[in-house]
């Protein structure tokens, strides 16, 4: 007769990606990094807990490996991590890739593939929800790829431009 004691999950805050937290759901309490806390589920997505001796309400919802939690009106994003995965996963694209800071559309391309650029040179202009931004080169080098065309839309973190320093083997 096997008895379930602990469900374990490793979590990290999206704004503190260097720290991992071990959380265990046991029958009597929820243990966060070894410390027991009382959490009660009130209704779908609603929970209560204790802070400074007072009951507080929290809301939470899961979407795949992402968990959204709200405490006193403030929302945070918590990601579930696979503890066997390396912490510092190399950013796809390497140091020479510029990632979109927000979703939007490409307004204009100021350089072309193959062009030599210097750090700080303007590369392309993007726009999203009334906000225009110019993406500039993060290093001296050559434009390897401009994956998006003028008018094309993109999501947050999509690669906007790929550069490589001269002499790299990409």
């Amino acid at each position: 007769m096997a008895q379930l004691i602990a469900k374990m999950i490793t979590l990290q805050f999206s704004d503190m990606p260097d720290q991992r937290h071990q959380v265990q759901l046991r029958t009597n309490a929820v243990y966060v990094n070894g410390r027991p806390l009382q959490v009660r589920k009130a209704a779908a997505g609603s929970f209560t807990g204790m802070l400074d001796g007072r009951t507080v309400r929290l809301r939470a919802v899961a979407h795949g490996d992402t968990l959204y939690v709200q405490l006193r009106g403030r929302g945070v994003r918590i990601d579930r991590v696979d503890p066997t995965r390396a912490r510092a996963a190399a950013t796809p694209g390497g140091a020479g890739a510029s990632h979109a800071p927000m979703p939007g559309v490409v307004i204009s391309l100021l350089v072309a593939a193959g062009q030599q650029v210097k750090a700080g040179d303007d590369l392309l202009v993007i726009e999203s929800m009334k906000l225009q931004m110019t993406i500039s080169a993060s290093l001296d080098g050559e434009v390897v790829e401009l994956p998006l065309a003028v008018g094309q839309t993109f999501q947050r973190n999509d690669i906007l431009v790929r550069l490589q320093t001269c002499g790299d083997t990409a």
């Binding site: 096997a2 807990g49 929290l58 968990l67 405490l71 994003r77 927000m102 939007g104 929800m129």
Partner: protein
């Protein structure tokens, strides 16, 4: 007088829903269009009918004049309400609607044209004795524009003449900044409004943005329904609006409202409109522009006057006279509106996308929540980032602020970053409580409005709740007797 029996609402999200509610109350059937990439609007399930409109990208469908008119005719509507944004201030659209034999719920096309162009509007205002700030119009003489702009003095606001809604505007504070401000403003105006003509005017430091809600009918009556303060802005876009404007001397309030009515009457204004002004710290006011449509923040006026502005719009559109005189308008208490936007306010107001996985609507005495989303709605870059409007009324400003704070904390839209906590910090700021509102508020108090750091206890509790909400966590099956022994140590 023509009774509207069926109304086509050429809009989406929360304004479409809001119009549906009033129309239903008045016994008017409603049709709300739908685009296949925007199927989660709450109005779609509450309208009597929906009809599909087409366009790529999605926003193009809402700017497709023939497409929208055809949809309205196909569904047997007799009137079109344009909402705000999109084609609401497009004179061509208004004309086309009339030509198609439909009633346009808004002012006549010539009035839209007059007030839609910043420059003609300004000239008209000046002619009516409305004070305006020093300005330079590029169209008068493009070659001397920059020189004339320089002559106005700094700080200077450069904006698109055909623009509005905060787009295509740049502030230049020094001579060196002017050339860049001109080129950026021109590029933005060209892109948003298809018109790169510019306009420069003196920028009043720490101005208060005060606007007056006016209403006209076809019989020439024009009244005002009080003023709104909309000074809490970021990137020239309003975040918090309230009515009445705090700490506005009665004399000044009356002069602004009277001037607004006079302007509207002179323009033979019909239906709802808003005269926007800036008020300097010295108590001078200047005409900014007139918006010939219902505004986003109209609910604050509704809450202090007890009137339904959409109902008034529909009655006036039917040709009825305004059901009340200026003297009948009563103001009671204080109302505040907060715009709930899908953006990370603490990371420079960067827009966010995602999906509304969990929706929590605040409720309580004096609380009104105009939602533009339903649970499960995707939030994309296709449309405006405003997901809802939270409007609160109280007997006085203090009570309204207090109610708004609670309501903001109860507002939940998990799955996308929203600005409710940022707005709450503004509402908690002592300067806001003192009514020291001007358009520089957010910039000036930026450091104090930074979010508090979460305590370790708070973080731990959030982790515990996150784990509790996570499905399918790998479970470790511990056999007996170890399961019963627990964390035993010798």
């Amino acid at each position: 007088m023509t009774t509207i029996r069926k109304l086509f609402i050429a809009n989406r999200a929360e304004i479409a829903l809001r119009i549906v509610h009033t129309a239903r109350r008045m016994g008017i059937a409603t049709v709300v269009p739908m685009h296949n990439q925007d199927q989660f609007g709450p109005a779609l399930t509450e309208a009597d009918e929906t009809v599909e409109i087409f366009g790529t990208p999605a926003v193009a469908a809402w700017l497709d004049i023939p497409g929208l008119i055809r949809a309205a005719l196909d569904t047997g509507c007799d009137a079109i309400h344009p909402g705000y944004g999109f084609l609401s201030e497009n004179a061509t659209f208004a004309k086309a609607v009339e030509l198609a034999g439909l009633i346009f719920v808004g002012p006549p096309a010539p009035v839209i044209e007059l007030m839609g162009d910043k420059i003609t509007a300004r000239r008209f205002a000046v002619a009516q004795g409305m004070p305006v700030t020093l300005s330079a119009d590029e169209a008068e003489d493009p070659t001397t524009f920059e020189k004339r702009a320089l002559a106005i003095g700094f700080p200077l606001l450069v904006k698109g003449a055909a623009g509005g809604g905060g787009k295509g505007m740049q502030i230049a504070r020094r001579v060196e900044d002017l050339a860049n401000a001109i080129s950026v403003a021109r590029a933005e105006s060209q892109r948003y409004f298809g018109d790169g003509r510019l306009f420069a005017e003196r920028f009043v430091e720490q101005p208060r943005h005060i606007e007056v809600q006016v209403f006209g009918d076809t019989q020439g009556h024009v009244i005002h329904l009080g003023e709104r303060e909309c000074s809490i802005q970021r990137r020239f876009q309003k975040l918090i609006e309230e009515s009445p404007a705090p700490k506005l001397p009665d004399g000044l309030r009356n002069r602004i409202c009277d001037a607004a009515v006079k302007l509207a009457a002179a323009a033979k204004y019909v239906n709802a409109g808003t005269v926007e002004c800036i008020v300097s710290p010295d108590g001078e006011f200047f005409f900014l522009e007139m918006n010939t449509r219902l505004q986003v923040e109209h609910p604050v006026t509704e809450m202090v006057t007890g009137l339904d502005l959409v109902e008034l719009q529909l009655r006036v559109a039917q040709g009825e006279p305004l059901p009340l005189d200026q003297g009948d308008v009563q103001f009671s208490g204080h109302a505040i509106e907060c715009r709930i936007l899908a953006e990370d306010a603490d990371a420079g107001f960067v827009p966010d996308t995602g999906k509304v996985l969990l929706l929590g609507i605040p409720a309580g005495p004096g609380v009104r929540f105009d939602s533009g989303v339903t649970a499960g709605a995707p939030v994309t870059a296709d449309f405006d980032s405003m997901l809802a409007k939270l409007v609160v009324h109280g007997a006085d400003r203090t009570l309204a602020i207090s109610r708004m704070r609670s309501a903001l904390a109860d507002t939940t839209m998990l799955g996308v970053t929203i600005n409710n906590d940022f707005l709450s910090r503004v509402l908690h700021h002592p300067a806001f409580a003192r009514g020291e509102t001007d358009t520089g508020f957010l910039e000036r108090h930026k450091a104090e409005l930074a979010p508090a750091v979460f305590t370790d206890d708070e973080r731990q509790l959030m982790l515990a709740v996150a784990a509790s909400a996570a499905p399918d966590i790998s479970a470790t099956r511990i056999p007996e007797p170890y399961a019963s022994m627990g964390a035993w140590r010798n």
